[in-house]
């Protein structure tokens, strides 16, 4: 894929700094070359994606790692808004959470999450999972072409309202 040349943009939506750092470290260990942006609540996540201040210069992510339990605006609601926003819905959203609850899994897929991953408790397994996420989404998967490259197309901000 032509897009392999530019660094991968990942948006991590996670409120626990310990988890953020752990993800960063896991990516380092997995030698995932990327630009990782981090926001710590749901409101910031949507502002980032919609390039609202202070995120006017934010780059469009190729992948969103989304925690479900977030302050201000819940991860489920963030997911709903992303998937109802024509300019954002093609960005794959990986729900990365500690909740094994069946209703969270079903709800996330109902809201069109691209996958649901349980954060492993064990470090080795966590490193493995982060590596598999990047292997899968950036080597195996062919991402939608307008996600990368055609950077202005998504700025139209055509919002579907319900």
């Amino acid at each position: 894929m032509a897009c392999n040349t530019s660094p991968i943009e990942i948006l991590l939506v996670e409120d626990n700094p310990g988890d953020v750092r752990l993800t960063v470290e896991a990516m380092k260990e997995g030698r995932v070359i990327n630009n990782l942006s981090v926001v710590s609540d749901g409101v910031e996540a949507l502002a980032f994606l919609r390039r609202e201040p202070p995120y006017q210069d934010a780059s469009r992510p190729d992948l969103i790692l989304l925690d479900l339990n977030l302050p201000k605006l819940d991860g489920r609601e963030v997911l709903r808004q992303i998937k109802n926003d024509k300019s954002l819905l093609r960005i794959p959203v990986v729900v990365l959470t500690t909740s094994p609850a069946e209703e969270d899994i079903l709800r996330s897929y109902d809201l069109h999450a691209n996958c649901y991953i349980l954060k492993p408790v064990d470090l080795e397994q966590f490193l493995e999972v982060v590596k598999s996420i990047s292997d899968f989404w950036f080597s195996v998967v062919r991402l939608p072409p307008d996600v990368r490259g055609v950077s202005d197309a998504w700025c139209a901000n055509e919002v579907i309202t319900h």
């Binding site: 626990n16 310990g18 500690t98 954060k119």
Partner: protein
């Protein structure tokens, strides 16, 4: 002759009268309008009225106010219906205002031409019994609520403790991974203890979560094949069975009314223990089930190290262990989970054993719908 006869008759009548008045049950009769025409001492004593105060009054006047109209309608209906009158419970008001719950038995009175002329009623005072039943029901409800609360607490506590513990555990592991051998042998040792402690705590919290889920996240009771439950338990234990060379004998096992996943977990824990606490020789394990009158009695017998009878109760408590972690690793929750599962199925669990002579763990499951041998 005639005089003697009438004396005997009057004596019999007197005896009958005494019997009627002093019988240990309250007794009255009403006519077809519901008016009291006869009442015994026992009833007068019970309600605190004299016979003169009661006779001539409609019987519903002695019931609690909000049942009087209904009572009047009931009597009209009962008087003429063809079927026998079923026993009932009614609330009467004693003269001093205290409400009594009475168990009421009624029969229609027929005249010589088989016409209904009234109803005769015997009544037992069940106020006391009623109160204790209510108190018992209330206590049971309170106990169930506090049990549920405790389970919920254990669940929430263990669930919420996992988050910060995941941080401790991940970062100590990361420390070990990155800096093992670079900070000196003391540091390596300290980190190793921290990693080990965090791992053990994780195991404990996980087990506590599993334990609390026996009550809070349980499955439905259904007709469950204990053959199949054993099959899946053995499948999960395959590695341990192969490694130890264990031989498992099984008798015929019934279909029982149970939560199939929990039944399988119970068998798996017991067989897993039988394999773990072996005595050098390859384990020989016998799984059987006896058909008792009201319950199924399962047993898992092994030829392992056995248990001193003085620990027979303690081993079923949460986090109780008899051995050091090096010889027999584990958190000590397995049998506590077994106990909770057995109890949830209306059963018990116990062990019959002597040190060095193997152990037999038995548990029962209450019989229910759809059971079969």
């Amino acid at each position: 002759m005639v005089a003697e006869c009438s004396t005997e008759e009057s004596e019999a009548a007197q005896q009958y009268q005494r019997l009627f008045e002093e019988a240990p049950v309250a007794y009255h009769e009403i006519d077809t309008d519901g008016t009291v025409i006869r009442v015994n001492h026992t009833e007068c004593d019970l309600l605190g009225f004299t016979a003169a105060e009661m006779i001539g009054q409609p019987i519903w006047k002695f019931l609690v106010a909000d049942d009087q109209t209904a009572s009047r309608q009931r009597i009209a209906r009962k008087m003429w219906a063809p079927e026998p009158i079923p026993p009932s419970e009614r609330e009467f008001v004693r003269r001093d205002g205290v409400v009594l719950t009475l168990e009421v038995y009624e029969n229609r009175i027929l005249d010589h031409a088989a016409r209904v002329v009234g109803i005769r009623t015997t009544m037992l005072d069940i106020t006391q019994r009623k109160h204790s039943e209510e108190a018992l029901a209330q206590r049971t409800a309170e106990l169930m609520r506090s049990n549920a609360e405790l389970e919920q607490f254990a669940y929430v506590a263990s669930h919420d403790l996992q988050e910060p513990l995941r941080m401790v555990s991940s970062y100590t592991q990361l420390l070990a991974r990155r800096y093992q051998g670079t900070l000196g042998s003391d540091a390596d040792e300290f980190i190793a203890f921290a990693v080990d402690g965090a791992k053990r705590m994780q195991a404990l919290i996980n087990d506590l979560l599993v334990y609390s889920r026996v009550g809070t996240h349980a499955g439905k009771f259904q007709a469950a094949s204990s053959e199949r439950a054993l099959g899946s338990a053995l499948a999960n234990l395959r590695a341990a069975i192969e490694e130890s060379g264990a031989v498992i004998h099984r008798g015929p096992l019934p279909v029982v009314f149970a939560d199939p996943l929990q039944l399988s977990q119970l068998l798996q824990n017991l067989i897993g223990n039988a394999i773990k606490y072996r005595d050098g020789a390859p384990p020989e394990i016998n799984v059987a089930c006896e058909d008792a009158p009201r319950e199924w009695r399962f047993s898992v017998r092994d030829n392992g190290i056995g248990i001193d009878p003085k620990y027979a109760v303690r081993i079923f408590q949460v986090f109780q262990r008899l051995h050091n972690k090096k010889d027999y690793p584990g958190t000590g929750i397995g049998l506590a989970i077994c106990k909770k599962i057995a109890e949830r199925h209306g059963g018990r669990i116990w062990v019959e054993s002597l040190p060095g002579q193997g152990a037999t763990f038995c548990f029962t499951i209450r019989k229910g719908e759809g059971d079969s041998k």
